[in-house]
């Protein structure tokens, strides 16, 4: 009788083995926020030119970077080198532009401009201070050789990225 009971008990133990899994969930919020504060407007002082210069009726776009942790991000801002939408253009458009720090929330950010790295149309800033930094972008598009832009609406895009280091 005992001999029967033991194997049975063993079989019961074998069937009662359980396994459990639990999850660990973590959310990572970016410590860098990009806000488009002021949309840009092209002025048309000459038939062949579109510019954001305020003296020519344009408005310079302003982008704000809010960095919550210093030394963990770099900001890359590219001024436009093409229209995202425009009438059909049959000539070359020459693009020039610039990005500069227009406002800071900490005096140490005032060295950002002198420390930035430029390549192509990109301007790369090391975000070494926590706080808000405002970047002002200028853009000029010259059409052909003093050739008039066709009538219509022109749109160009400024790209801003906050890249974790």
């Amino acid at each position: 009788m005992l001999k029967i009971v033991v194997p049975m008990a063993a079989s019961i133990l074998a069937t009662e083995f359980v396994q459990a899994q639990t999850e660990i969930i973590g959310n990572v919020d970016s410590k860098c926020i990009i806000v488009s504060e002021t949309p840009g407007v092209y002025g048309n002082p000459n038939p062949y030119q579109l510019t954001t210069a305020p003296t020519s009726g344009g408005v310079q776009p302003i982008i704000r970077f809010d960095v919550l942790a210093a030394d963990y991000y770099k900001a890359v801002i590219e001024h436009p080198v093409s229209f995202s939408s425009s009438p059909t253009l049959d000539d070359v458009v020459t693009w020039t532009g610039d990005v500069e720090v227009s406002e800071v929330s900490d005096t140490d950010m005032s060295t950002y401009d002198s420390d930035k790295v430029e390549y192509d149309n990109a301007h790369e800033y090391q975000m070494t201070v926590a706080g808000s930094t405002w970047f002002k972008i200028s853009s000029v598009a010259d059409y052909g050789y003093n050739k008039s832009f066709p009538a219509g609406q022109y749109t160009a895009v400024v790209e801003a990225e906050c890249i974790p280091l």
Binding site: S102, E103, V104, D106, T107, M109, S110, T111, D113
Partner: protein, 289 residues
Amino acid sequence: MKRLSWALVALCYLPSYSYSEEIYGTTNNAAQAGLNWVMTQVLPEYAGLEVNGLVYSYTAVKDPETDMIVWVQNEYADGSGYIFRNSDDWSGLPGNTISKSFAFPNLPATLWGPGSVEVEGEGSVEDASIIYSYRYDTCFDPQSDPSCPGYEETVEVPEIPIYDPLQDALVQEDMARKARIQEEEEERERQRRREQWALSNTLEDLLGDGNNPGLVDPVAEALALALTSRTLPTDYLYSLEGREYLEAVILDGGTIEDNVKARRSNLAQQLLHQQMVDSQYESSQQETK
């Protein structure tokens, strides 16, 4: 549900229905007219107003090589230090536009004193913008609005005519009557005193006249004299016997020798006195010459 909505509507129309509201707002640029400002001219005048934030921005114009510190500050209204003070150190940095914001734990407007942007070092501040955010309760003073909770209806005090009994005709007549009676009584009293005084004067005249034989009673006079003699000291009636007191001390001859030392001293003083007199005489003689 329908009954509940009716109850809510009725509640809204009840006279005791009340509410208060918190209003939030921001000031104009405090540094519009300069880098110094007075808070009473910046904040609106609402009872119970509290400052809960500040946003400032300015452009620092400077040489990157120079040192410069910019202070944005507000003193306490009672002058006991600063209620808010923040510095931006631009030393060795290029100038730029800076923008900062601060939150305060609802500090009463009465605490806020004069504000200023102060530059320490070389450089200047341009386009300064100082904007305060505030809040206030529309019912901070419940009596400001009948819709405020805690509002109490003002009780109108009826105008009660003041009764001055002294102005009453009957009272005045009665007072005049009493005054008249009192005056009459006083006049009678004065008359009585005059008569009494005249009578007593007459009696004095009569009694003071010693030649009036009708008033001299020999018996009474003798009695008065006897009484007088009895009251005077008896010594007045006796005479003292005179005597002569003769010299009792007699010197018994002999001579008293002069004291030699005293004599010498006397002579010396005499000589000194003579010299002084001679000197005065000579000086007077010289003056007359």
